[in-house]
């Protein structure tokens, strides 16, 4: 099909979007709306006429103006676009805090079985007993791995799980006449979702400073505790990649003060099958199935964030949940007593439950423990190999699943953490997590996961050493210009935010909007 000649690229100053189709393996792909038009379609559907409609006069008058593509055009558009993405399958993602591990394809195949994919959330419960059994089995694994009393499967993502966990804490305290507790303690190193969640529920956030070694001091927690404190939100292993050595003492202090311990379980991959969070005194913890249990990140979701709950919080779990009912299983869909009600329509991320259970059964209890230990081994290996060339802020103990460096090794080179990370792109690696956690200056947080072979780790470390040497040798230009070999050079984010262009518009619309 010829180019749609009604439209033109949005904005001004853009150039060359279609002047070339790009090089052989680096396609330059126009927008869907610049390729397709409103007549073309890639589906064959009968064109029915409706004698009497029942639309009550609400039929559409505003033009839809949705571009369509035939099947071969669509295939090429999305395949060409896909080639502009880095992915785990094509290269390492050393992203700290994100746990970019291998996504087994058996998981995908199982999630597409019609008995899982083609069942409706509201069809009669006796026609979905296998689905409820699957939810029960997944719950059993999660509770066993964490030594907890209950699990709420439905949260749609980690942050949604945090929200649920903190809602359960609020509900429990309200039920116990403790509704006056309005403060949540959050260490400075926490993920941004933690203070955002606490604030969302009307809590005020009190920051707990990190010790010089990157961990939380039990004394600092005790000093911050009062009768107004509802909970602590603590990540363990923490965002510096360290296991909190005083976590049990912190839990005891929290409980002594009548507060709850919310654990951010984003880093559970480091300890699954090796340490059970329930033994550390947690009351609630979300588990990111898309990190720890290998469900795909999908370019930004969908995730899944089941929350395990202690005995004290179990009665406050949201609906729906599965319960044994004589010989079968029932789905409890309506809140009883002080329970929370519902935080999402239907049963949550069933497609992710299938993938996660498939992964658990593949690994087994022994394999999950081995995976955690390999993840920790890999991070320590990177730290050991790179410590001589990089600056290690917390060198005293072994790290867990992440190796954390700061930017002091770059002092005087004219190269920033961002520049350094962008140079990794030209070497075939995704950048590491940068400038997080906030407690470390110019942080570089590297999480290799258990999926990377020693060969890949060695190649990564070789590249990192070479880059560090080159930065110190004064070759700043290589870094400040990077990336040079990616589909795009650095993008102007300030421009994007200053005058946002958030959708494609026809030329006449753009002109009209500018008037």
């Amino acid at each position: 099909m010829s180019m749609n000649n009604h439209g033109r690229p949005t904005g001004t100053g853009t150039s060359g979007f279609a002047s070339t189709s790009g090089s052989a393996l680096l396609p330059n792909e126009p927008l869907l709306f610049e390729i397709g038009d409103t007549e073309h379609s890639g589906v064959d559907l009968p064109d029915v006429t409706i004698a009497t409609d029942r639309l009550g006069g609400f039929e559409r008058r505003m033009p839809l103006d949705l571009a369509g593509l035939t099947e071969p055009e669509a295939m090429r558009h999305y395949v060409r676009l896909s080639r502009l993405n880095h992915s785990i399958d094509s290269g390492m993602y050393p992203l700290g805090s994100c746990t970019m591990k291998h996504n087994p394809r058996l998981n995908e195949k199982m999630a597409r079985l019609p008995g899982f994919a083609d069942i409706h959330p509201l069809q009669p419960v006796y026609t979905v007993q296998g689905a409820l059994e699957l939810m029960n089995q997944l719950s059993h694994w999660l509770m066993t791995l964490t030594n907890t009393a209950a699990v709420a499967l439905t949260p749609k993502a980690g942050a949604h799980g945090e929200l649920l966990g903190m809602m359960a804490i609020k509900a429990a305290q309200d039920a116990a006449g403790q509704g006056h507790r309005k403060v949540v303690l959050v260490p400075e190193s926490a993920h941004g979702t933690n203070p955002a969640t606490a604030a969302f529920l009307g809590y005020s956030v009190k920051a707990i400073p990190a010790r010089d070694d990157g961990t939380v001091d039990v004394q600092a927690v005790k000093d911050a505790l009062s009768a107004d404190v509802a909970a602590i939100m603590l990540t363990n292993p923490n965002t510096c990649g360290l296991f909190e050595p005083q976590v049990i003492e912190i839990a005891e202090a929290i409980h002594d003060a009548g507060a709850f311990f919310y654990c951010d379980g984003a880093n559970f991959n480091a300890i699954m099958g090796v340490v059970r969070p329930g033994d550390l005194g947690i009351d609630a913890m979300h588990i990111n199935l898309h990190k720890t249990f290998s469900t795909p990140h999908g370019g930004g979701g969908p995730g899944a964030g089941p929350v395990v709950l202690s005995k004290a919080l179990a009665p406050f779990a949201p609906v729906p949940f599965v319960r044994k009912d004589g010989s079968g299983l029932e789905l409890v869909e309506h809140a009883e007593g002080d329970a929370l009600g519902r935080i999402t329509a239907f049963q949550g991320q069933m497609g992710m439950y299938v993938r996660a259970l498939t992964y658990m059964l593949s690994h087994g209890g022994d394999g999950l423990a081995q995976a955690a230990q390999d993840a920790v081994l890999n991070a320590n290996y990177i730290k050991a190999r790179l410590a001589h060339a990089f600056s290690v802020p917390f060198g005293d103990y072994p790290t867990m699943h992440e190796a954390l460096f700061d930017d002091s090794f770059l002092a005087g080179t004219g190269v920033t953490t961002l520049d350094f990370a962008k140079a990794l792109i030209d070497e075939g690696f995704h950048p590491m997590t940068m400038y997080f956690p906030l407690v470390v200056h110019g942080a570089m947080l590297i999480e290799p996961t258990e999926s990377e072979s020693k060969q890949t780790l060695d190649r990564f470390c070789d590249v990192m050493e070479e880059l560090a040497a080159d930065a110190k040798a004064g070759n700043a230009a290589r870094f400040t210009a990077a990336p040079l070999k990616a589909p795009r050079r650095r993008l102007d984010e300030t421009r994007a935010a200053r005058s946002p262009i958030l959708k494609w518009e026809r030329a006449e619309e753009t002109l009209k909007a500018a008037e």
Binding site: F33, R54, G68, M100, G192, Y381
Partner: protein, 447 residues
């Protein structure tokens, strides 16, 4: 263990480089009493074929939609997804990519999101759409909070035609909030929300087609809300309806939230689904969720980035518009590919086909003694009142191999007035034979 690359020799060599005697030495910060102090009692690792057999056995205990006549809707709809969609979303570069925070090597995902936002804005008739939320229900709760920020008012009124799960989610998000008014169920499509708008109202929330299938008058609602300085939030659970129905933006909606599952995504027993959100240009900075925007790179080439992230938790922490940290990326991709395959021509044909089948269904049901169709208007879904309690009737029909819809009492157990109501949907997958089978079975059961 097929997912773990290291040999024992490699592990030993790596421990040597680290200078650790054994793996436990790397866990030295863990209190001794908590380290490996248990026997999990979980099964050991298992070959692929055994895992597959286990999962197939579980799947085999469920009745799939394709196994017989199927009329279940009520917020999740069984549509056909072209094979191309599912093939493409399983490409490594889509499936196993991370959130596009590094735009230079994420242009595929970013351009797709820009195209997705454009599609959603066009469908809803709104200025801008975000890069998706978890699903329609949580999106509705987010829209309510957004309206409060925008108006600095607190009162929220939920229409009695809003999906009961959506209402329950809003209630959970606004726990103990006296400013939330939930109007009682309105299965006849009766609108009473206009009387509840006052100067304290931040927003009214109206679903159309509503939970019972009725089409609601958005123009009247928008005008009434705006007259008092309140916002109109429109909720749509069946996005295919917008192929035939006027865009909410044309009526003056301020925020549109929709469930996008119908396009590109399977039923999946309830998730993952796809929350769509669109709004007016001037409200962007209070909108939750990721946004993708156009810009240029250092050589002036057009490119895309995540933008306006100063609204988000990783920058703003406790001052963020929402705690949301993800979108529903792969579901948005499936939606966008399916919508691109449909195009305007295919999408409107799909909508007409749905409406035509629903018309046949309504006529067939109306002809059954003991069945009353409550809808004068509908798109592809309707409510019937039966002469017997609905919950039992649905079980009996299921035993005959027909999944005949959702008894309203399953979602509203405390409301005796809905005990005999069933919500049913037809889609392009509904055949004349399906409808005839339902009609015959209903006639026998209601004799």
């Amino acid at each position: 263990m097929r997912y773990l690359p290291h040999s024992e020799a490699e592990r030993a060599e790596m421990l040597g480089v680290i200078g650790a005697a054994n793996i436990d030495a790397l866990f030295s910060a863990v209190p001794r009493r908590a380290l490996k102090n248990f026997d999990l009692g979980l099964p050991a690792h298992s070959p692929e074929f055994l895992v597959e057999a286990h999962m197939r056995a579980l799947a085999g205990k469920n009745r799939a939609g394709a196994d017989g006549p199927f009329f279940v809707g009520a917020g999740a709809y069984r549509h056909h997804v072209p094979a191309t969609v599912d093939h493409l979303i399983q490409r490594s570069e889509w499936l196993t990519a991370y959130t596009p925070y590094q735009p230079e090597i994420s242009q595929g995902t970013l351009q797709m999101l820009f195209e997705f936002q454009t599609q959603v804005a066009k469908l809803t008739g709104m200025d801008v759409a975000n890069a998706s939320l978890y699903d329609g229900s949580t999106g509705t709760a987010e829209a309510v909070l957004m309206a409060r920020r925008l108006t600095r008012r607190n009162k929220i009124v939920l229409s009695g035609g809003l999906h009961p799960h959506y209402r329950d989610v809003v209630k959970a998000y606004l726990k103990d909030d006296a400013d939330l008014e939930c109007l009682s169920a309105s299965p006849e499509g009766q609108g009473d929300i206009l009387d509840h708008i006052d100067e304290q109202t931040a927003a009214i929330v109206i679903q159309t087609p509503d939970f019972y299938g009725h089409l609601r008058n958005l123009k009247v609602a928008a005008d009434a809300a705006h007259a008092k300085g309140a916002l109109l939030i429109v909720v749509i659970t069946e996005i295919v309806s917008l192929g035939l129905l006027e865009a909410p933006g044309a009526y003056g909606a301020d925020i549109v939230v929709a469930e996008g599952q119908s396009i590109g995504n399977a039923l999946n027993f309830g998730g993952p689904y796809l929350g769509l959100m669109a709004t007016r240009k001037e409200f962007i900075r209070q909108m939750p969720g990721r946004l993708c925007g156009e810009t240029v790179d250092a050589e002036g080439q057009r490119g895309f980035v995540l933008t306006l992230s100063t609204r988000e938790q990783h920058i703003r922490r406790e001052k963020a518009t929402s705690n949301i940290c993800t979108n529903s990326g792969l579901c948005a991709l499936a939606f966008s590919i399916h919508m691109a395959l449909l195009g305007e021509a295919g999408f409107t044909r799909l909508a007409r086909l749905n409406h035509a089948n629903a018309g046949k269904l309504a006529d067939a049901l109306a002809a059954v003694a003991g069945v009353e169709v409550l809808n004068k208007t509908f798109f592809n879904e309707m409510t019937i009142r039966t002469s017997r309690p609905a919950a039992d009737l649905i079980e009996r029909l299921a035993a005959r191999g027909i999944l005949a819809g959702v008894p309203v009492s399953r979602l509203e157990p405390d409301d005796p007035s809905v005990a005999n109501l069933i919500v049913l949907a037809a889609t392009e997958l509904t055949t004349d034979a399906d409808i005839a089978a339902l009609r015959a079975a209903l006639a026998e059961e209601l004799q």
